[in-house]
């Protein structure tokens, strides 16, 4: 018999509405965010220096962007293979984002503490605050009663980092739950012997995509 899922505590509704609405919102929000990859890659043309981690991050974002856009177009009429892929990529992206987030947090706070005065004419350095060295010249003269204290800023930085991450995890559970219901309802099946999928005459990208989708499908079926 098919193995029964351990994931029984997934949300059954999205804020008391059907799950597909949650999936649409989740994929939409993530799609917006993944556009960052495109702008990051534009550094190639503007001559802004990027390090290796940033490059991998932006390229990964573009890959996710492609997957999520194809997913969001199918929310009302899902294709089980593609939705499995979206579920898989979304879940991997959640973990990957957490790791990148930790890395970039470390980078920001390590740069913030340093006292290097960078070139003022550039719009910013590769990473971290742009003009750390210029703080003291102005702050002595002007009224700082309505400036945020560094404690307040730190609190907001942490809050605004953790809230999107928490929302992201919730969205991830919504997508997994939706995928689980798709798999369990008999409406959406995938015929593995479908003769219409003739891979011989397709290009290599299509073959890879199909194999990857099928792999994601069996993975989802195994664990959901």
């Amino acid at each position: 018999m098919q193995q029964q899922s351990n994931m029984v505590h997934l949300p059954q509704t999205f804020l008391s509405y059907p799950l597909y609405i949650g999936v649409e919102v989740a994929l939409g929000v993530l799609t917006f965010n993944k556009f960052s990859g495109m702008y990051g890659v534009l550094a190639l043309f503007t001559g802004h220096p990027l390090d290796f981690v940033q490059w991998t991050f932006y390229i990964w974002s573009i890959f996710c962007l492609v997957v999520f856009i194809s997913g969001i177009r199918q929310v009302y009429k899902p294709n089980i293979l593609l939705m499995s892929t979206v579920t898989f990529v979304f879940s991997v992206d959640t973990i990957v984002s957490c790791i990148y987030c930790l890395w970039f947090t470390a980078v920001w706070f390590s740069q913030e503490g340093s006292t290097d005065v960078t070139d003022l004419k550039s719009a910013g350095t590769a990473l971290g605050p742009a003009h750390e060295g210029t703080t003291s010249t102005i702050s002595t003269k002007v009224d700082t009663s309505k400036s945020a204290s560094s404690g307040y800023e730190f609190f907001l930085i942490i809050l605004l980092t953790l809230v999107p991450l928490a929302v992201r995890f919730y969205f991830n559970f919504i997508i997994i739950a939706f995928q689980q219901q798709l798999l369990r309802s008999g409406k959406f099946t995938f015929d593995q012997n479908d003769i219409e999928v003739n891979l011989h005459n397709r290009n290599i990208l299509f073959k890879w995509r199909y194999k990857f989708e099928k792999w994601c499908f069996y993975l989802c079926k195994r664990y959901l």
Binding site: S36, E112, G124, P129, K146, S150, I157, P164, N193
Partner: protein, 421 residues
Amino acid sequence: MANWFQRTFLANRPAGSRLANLETSFNPKLSIRKLKNYHASATDICHYGFLGSIMFFSFVVNPAPWIFKILFYSLLLLLFVIPATGQFFFNALPIFAWLSLYFTSSSFDASYRPPITVKVLPAIETILYGDNLSDILATSTNKPLDIVAWLPYGIFHFGAPFVVAAILFICGPPTILRGYAFAFGYMNLFGVMTQNLFPAAPPWYKILNGLSPANYSMHGSPGGLGRIDEYFGINLYTKGFTNSAVIFGAFPSLHSGCATMEALFFSYVFPKLTPLFVFYVCWLWWSTMYLTHHYFVDLMAGSVLSYVIFQYTKYFHLPLTEKGVYSRWTYAEIPKFNIWQTDPLYGARSDVENVPLSVLETDFELNSMENSNNSNSNSPSIFDESSPRSVSRSSLTSTDNLEQDLPLRTSTAKPNKQRFD
């Protein structure tokens, strides 16, 4: 012209349909009678109560002379009451609430305002997006790029809402315009409220002053738009942004919010042109960062706000569009979204044909019948009569037999082993 209009928009009008007709009466008694028969639902009370309190707050706090304020609000009330104008103006109430709050924002006393943050946005941007994307895009600037950036940010942004409203009114289903006003107004209203509650410095501040503390006596800066003023020998943007109503209102970006809202509504009515609208939003995003007016995280906040409000409006207020219909006069009815029936899983569990897969056996092999011969043969043999499990060739195809076979096949099927052909 009239002929063209007739052919393009009125040709497929259903006979006798009055759906697309507008109110033409100027008699306020009609509106008052309607109001007397009106029963407010809980959501209506929240909606009007919230917008009313915003309007009242602006009325009290705005520093303009009382006589002007009273005159302005009386005029607004008159426009609401006259049916011919009220059908447009009253539905635009969220937009008026937003505008009233926006133009009052500059007059708030600094002592009541929250502290201005300078580091939060660049820090969040680095943490969530790897770097300051506005820095990446503004690293090198030149004249042609300035012009390309200025077009959506400095020109289209201010005209687009009206153009979009007019096109939606003509090409969309009837009542879509009030949905647009609702979504657009609320998005901007929430945006301005957030900008006031969470004042944050835009990227140009970091370029001019570094991450040094800010205060409310500072003036705004046109950022990259200052270069446009130089090119044309004007003082439009420098003056405008120096005296902006919300100087430290970087978060969220309402430029991004408006563009996203316009793109979402247009994609809703013209789904085939969606890539074009996505391109416009990307173009505007790029230009806001290039002109150092917003961080990417502001753009995301604006767009996500727009998207969430649009989804809400779509499911609860907007009329459904008909495929291939681009004229309000062609619509014979105004159906709304049924969120339960649109669910791709709708009926999945009650439908007999959709028995959950976990109950049925799905991963048996197609040739499992042949493989299962080893232990308990169910193929016909000369010992048919003696074997209690054996079946005759003729009865192999009958349904009774298949049911008997099921447990047998299940036991021999290898779990999770699939065929890839």
